[in-house]
Symmetry: C2
Amino acid sequence: DESERPPPVVRYRMNNVTTTSDPIGNRETILILTPLARFYQGYWDNLLQLSYPHELISLGFIIPKNWEGNTATSQLQERIKKTQSGPQKKRFASITILRQDTEIPLQSQSEAERHKMQNQKARRAAMSKARNSLLFTTIGPTTSWVLWLDSDVVESPPTLIQDLASHNKPVIVPNCYQRYYNNDKKAMDVRPYDYNSWVDSTIAQSLAEKMGDDDILLEGYPEMATYRSLMAYMFEENGDPTKEVQLDGVGGTALLVKADVHRDGAMFPAFAFYHLIETEGFAKMASRLGWTSFGLPNYLVSHHLIGKICSIQN
Amino acid sequence: DESERPPPVVRYRMNNVTTTSDPIGNRETILILTPLARFYQGYWDNLLQLSYPHELISLGFIIPKNWEGNTATSQLQERIKKTQSGPQKKRFASITILRQDTEIPLQSQSEAERHKMQNQKARRAAMSKARNSLLFTTIGPTTSWVLWLDSDVVESPPTLIQDLASHNKPVIVPNCYQRYYNNDKKAMDVRPYDYNSWVDSTIAQSLAEKMGDDDILLEGYPEMATYRSLMAYMFEENGDPTKEVQLDGVGGTALLVKADVHRDGAMFPAFAFYHLIETEGFAKMASRLGWTSFGLPNYLVSHHLIGKICSIQN
Ligand SMILES: Nc1nc2c(ncn2[C@@H]2O[C@H](COP(=O)(O)OP(=O)(O)O)[C@@H](O)[C@H]2O)c(=O)[nH]1
Ligand SMILES: Nc1nc2c(ncn2[C@@H]2O[C@H](COP(=O)(O)OP(=O)(O)O)[C@@H](O)[C@H]2O)c(=O)[nH]1
Ligand SMILES: [Mn+2]
Ligand SMILES: [Mn+2]
């Protein structure tokens, strides 16, 4: 009788949970976390082609509770059903879908609108809370790694997880690019997309010093030139994909974190934290907890091309 | 065949998880979290006598991996075994025990040694990380409340959870006292124990302003008089136990938190956060996320009496 069985007691020795440069060899579990406003088939296809053993991968999604979110949830659930009843090798260990209880401002707006400077703080504060809710409720005692992966990352090497983990860094971020049609070259081309991975500058720091307590520095806006070194611009054609750069801010489009960094308390500040917010604030918080962030300027993942002209930052 | 079954997909609508002043009526689940260095029978007895439905209570412990921790783990597991195979009504919903992977400085030392000012920062930073590990790995999507309860809290009203929850506050803390033998009165008496629940003062704030980035303010040390209003001193004999005071810092001996406050990202900073750390830093972080903390100066819980003379602060 179920009701008579003593409820479960689970014991974990946290030093048995390793996080190494050989995660497959050590059977390390990874949690892939995706805040998801819109479903992209390209995202799902890319996820399925990851060669990291799927039985070691758990997935977590947080989806807004509005109409668009309902659509995205149905689309996602349809794909999940198919995958989880398909070939054993492709199935994931477990999947959690959270429907958000709060509305995120501006999420239904266009990319240009979303990226407007005055809209960024409220939006990124809300995104921080969504990421934290997802993180706090899905990370478990046996999680070794957390891979943050935006729902519009549609292309990455199949070995993404192994490649990033092989660096054995607390926090590591690839360079997020966008494919587009270059009208001058009359050919497809790539351009930088994520401006949140950077090395700090003295100019940015002195800008920060003059700011009010609640003000945040934002990257990619000409009216607030920070002179930070952006990883987006460190890409070299045919450059070594294993080249590392130590970073002070990171973006979240694709971001691998040792679970212990989060377990120590590193989350996504929804408030100005050293005048930083969300993923950039996360890097600062990790650093206050003694963990260093790194970027791979020549290791690319691709962001979906939305509409025709995409980034106001170009 | 187990291996053929599609792995579970779990969907949660977070707005279905309520956190109200009538938690029993609404069948709200609570997670009781205890960092535990030493096992006290009084703690376990007190836990068992809580009248909140045990089937709505999950327990989480984090225990150091040293010799003392091994002993505490055995003692705890023995009690758990008895309780979880005893009367259905007394059994808890689930229990998680984490064995820490890092050593906490000074935890095996005497109370006097632990409370020395220069030892506090390292100790409380390590305690913060232990609390965060426990929190991040046990809080789930269906958790409504988190009750932080130190392992040396040996006495509380059976209605502790209902009483605290009835205030319907994001963060609420009772007043933690210690029973002792008063030699002057030749009788048992009570004295304040927890100095971490306070209302801020302008003096403390100007002390903080002059401090280095990494320095922290500590309460209860004559050499650093903060002139904060300590809840410990607001206790009135026969005072109204429902009286509320808004607080800027909180202690963690017993502390009820709406799970959404944590899910938004409020954790225990292991670094100087506005010159605060651990539970006091938590209150500040909650406030930066828009959540206010309250204390109940006339609602008492009791801290174990260790040794003969206990608090260097008296
Ligand atoms: N849960 C949730 N996710 C969102 C919301 N808005 C955006 N996202 C997701 O968060 C990630 C980053 O958002 P996106 O709009 O692509 O940001 P940008 O590329 O930096 O402009 C993507 O995976 C989005 O699908 C929201 O309101 N709620
Ligand atoms: N996991 C863990 N818990 C600890 C450690 N040291 C103390 N604790 C627990 O943390 C709580 C607060 O510690 P305690 O020594 O009572 O602090 P104090 O009463 O403020 O001096 C109690 O529940 C302790 O059992 C440690 O090293 N690891
Ligand atoms: Mn995007
Ligand atoms: Mn104690």
